[in-house]
């Protein structure tokens, strides 16, 4: 795994070193040129100072000799005819006479820089060995560039510190997350976090919050389910015990039938719980293939027909268009089955259930009406809650049918609404929006 911090430090460090090197070289070269110019200027000044001298003062040469070193200047004076009037006595080999002005002459293995001035019939030559001059220039140049080195080092340390402290919030968040247990979904603190990172932290916190919500919903569901399973279990236990206590065949047969009913009720509840768990809106998106809604509804009607007949309830379809919607055939069947089953279950024996499937201009409407007691308007929102049963209703519903229907409808982008039926009971309307028809 690459460390962003190390990479930043490395890259910025290399950039600093390169910049320092470039600056070092250019400054060095500028210093060399400046030193060169300065030496030339000194040589010329010296020649100009000497041009009025008579060279009859003994001793001035001595003072030159005292400072003598390998980069010392050498002065030679000739008459216009070439007779030597004076020369610095320091060296055995002296450069020959050079042309007037600046030039470089070679003497043995050494190069000399010379300046020659001609004045009042006298030729004055000031010379300096190039080697010494260069050494001196290098020394001056180094003196002007050496502060670059500690400055670069200081800069490196500063960069290291700045990057490390800028990365500290990321490290803190990492540690914060690492120290958590699975159940801890509290938001990560964005205290002291820079703007760029706080965006990340905000997204992370939003994800944590959504996860927290999903887990809480799941836990609520499990708790509700466990609670709801208690009633059928209690009924089963009592039914078994009543069966055990039955003293004659008639009561035993009755108790047995009640036990069978109890088992059927428990089975239905467990089945509905499973359907609801599978229909969890977070579980998976609806398959978006075009499926026949009319087929799903027909199947649901067929499967409820036997139950309806046993309760002497008349199932009827007055308007039934062949319709197709986008979604999952299984889910649409479950939706229709739950709604029709509910209608049959809550309608008193001998009643009517009307199922209509109609194509509208931009939608498809599945409408189920019954002649049952209906649901008072104040309860119409609550009946969609899981495990909610209308108070006083007699049927052994799981309290999940409408919750399942709504979840499926929402996943298909359909709206589900309750109203009053023309038959006197409840009307459930599910409206599937249709995508605009492609131009023929």
């Amino acid at each position: 795994m690459k460390s962003l911090r190390l990479r930043l430090i490395l890259l910025v460090g290399v950039a600093i070193l390169l910049a320092t090197a470039v600056q070092f070289v250019t400054t060095f070269r500028a210093s060399m040129t400046r030193a060169d110019t300065l030496f030339d200027y000194h040589m010329r000044q010296m020649a100009l100072l000497l041009q009025d001298s008579t060279f009859d003062q003994p001793g001035w040469v001595t003072s030159m000799r005292e400072q003598g070193s390998y980069y010392e200047f050498v002065v030679q004076v000739w008459t216009a005819e070439g007779a030597r009037l004076y020369q610095t006595p320091s060296l055995r080999a002296l450069p020959p006479r050079a042309p007037e002005g600046y030039s470089v002459v070679r003497l043995g293995s050494n190069d000399w820089r010379t300046y020659v001035a001609v004045h009042k019939g006298r030729v004055i030559q000031v010379a300096q060995r190039l080697e010494g001059r260069r050494d001196r220039a290098v020394q001056i140049a180094f003196e002007s560039v050496w502060p670059l080195v500690p400055v670069a080092l200081l800069l490196l340390v500063a960069v290291w510190w700045v990057i490390t402290s800028a990365m500290a919030p990321l490290n803190r968040i990492g540690r914060d997350l690492a120290e958590r247990n699975a159940g801890s979904l509290a938001p990560v603190s964005d205290k002291g976090v820079p703007r760029e990172v706080s965006k990340l932290v905000a997204e992370l916190n939003s994800l944590l919050a959504r996860l927290d919500g999903a887990i809480a919903a799941h836990q609520r569901f499990v708790a509700d389910a466990a609670h709801e399973l208690r009633s059928p279990l209690t009924a089963l236990k009592l039914q078994v015990q009543t069966l055990q206590r039955a003293r004659d065949d008639t009561t035993r047969a009755q108790a047995m039938q009640r036990l069978v009913d109890g088992v059927e009720r428990a089975r239905r509840l467990v089945e509905q719980l499973l359907v609801l768990a599978r229909q969890d809106p977070h579980a998976r998106p609806a398959d978006a293939a075009p499926v026949s809604l009319s087929q799903a509804v027909t199947q649901a009607v067929a499967d409820v027909a036997v139950f309806a007949k046993s309760r002497n309830i008349n199932l009827e379809c007055r308007h039934f268009d062949d319709t197709t919607v986008h979604g999952s055939a299984d889910d649409l069947y479950t939706l229709a089955r739950n709604l029709i089953d509910n209608a049959v279950r809550y309608t008193p024996a001998g009643g009517d259930v009307l199922i209509d499937l109609q194509r509208l201009p931009m939608a498809v409407e599945l409408r189920i009406q019954d002649s049952g007691p209906g649901i008072p308007p104040e309860n119409r929102e609550r009946v969609f809650d899981r495990f909610y049963r209308v108070p006083g209703s007699d049927a052994e519903g799981s309290g999940l049918g409408l919750a399942i229907a709504r979840t499926i409808a929402e996943r298909h982008g359909a709206g589900i609404a309750l109203g009053s039926a023309s038959l006197g009971g409840l009307m459930v309307s599910v409206v599937f929006p249709l995508p605009p028809a492609p131009a023929a």
């Binding site: 208690r230 009633s231 209690t234 009592l238 039914q239 206590r245």
Partner: protein
């Protein structure tokens, strides 16, 4: 003994009713929280079996308002709410005992008897001459040998023993014996009294002409 059962689940209520009636306990059954108090004020019950998750009026609210109205009858709460705070809440609201679903029929019956006996107070054993009746174990002895009573006979005896020395009219006994659903045969009480006298002795049940029946207050 006559109890009121408040339970909204059809299967659970049905089975409790069948089982208790098999024990000679008369059960009136309501499925709605709002129906409990009118039923209690219309009829004298020995106990109330109260589910907490009732429609229209929660069991806890029912309990609070009937205790608030000064009704003292024993209340046995039946509920799926099992956590300690919920139990404490139920007991604080005035419950005498608590059974968590799913419960055992035997336990329900035993606790119901214990509650009713505690409410009546005193000795669970009633003695009169050679007859001794244990109200807890529901055993009846005459001269140390056990006598078997039918559940109806026991119900009449139980009603009389609830208040020894007090006269119960035929109508009162009928009310104790039959729930709302039960059909009262015209001379049923006389038949059960006759049975009791045959098994426990002619003078065990005293008949006060025109007023009703009683058992002698002893001890």
């Amino acid at each position: 003994m006559k109890v009121l059962l408040a339970e909204d689940d059809r299967m659970i209520g049905e089975n409790i009713q069948i089982a208790l009636e098999g024990e000679g306990i008369t059960v009136d059954w309501v499925r709605d929280g709002a129906a409990v108090e009118p039923a209690l004020s219309a009829t004298a019950y020995d106990a109330l079996l109260l589910d907490l998750g009732l429609p229209h009026k929660d069991g806890i609210d029912v309990l609070r308002s009937l205790r608030g109205a000064g009704m003292l009858l024993p209340v046995l709460v039946l509920t799926a709410r099992e956590t300690v705070p919920e139990r404490v809440l139920g007991l604080k609201a005035g419950a005498d005992d608590y059974l968590v679903k799913p419960f055992d029929l035997e336990e329900l019956i035993a606790r119901l008897h214990a509650l009713v006996r505690r409410a009546r107070g005193g000795d669970p054993v009633y003695r009169n001459g050679s007859v001794s009746v244990n109200l807890d174990t529901r055993q009846v002895f005459v001269d140390e040998s056990q006598v078997v009573l039918s559940s109806r006979e026991w119900a009449v005896l139980d009603a009389l023993l609830a208040r020894p020395g007090a006269i119960l009219s035929r109508a009162q006994l009928e009310e104790k014996l039959y729930g709302w659903s039960g059909e009262v045969e015209s001379n049923a009480i006389e038949v059960y009294i006759h049975g009791l006298r045959k098994k426990l002795g002619q003078h065990f049940v005293v008949n006060v002409r025109g007023l009703g029946y009683m058992v002698e207050k002893t001890g």
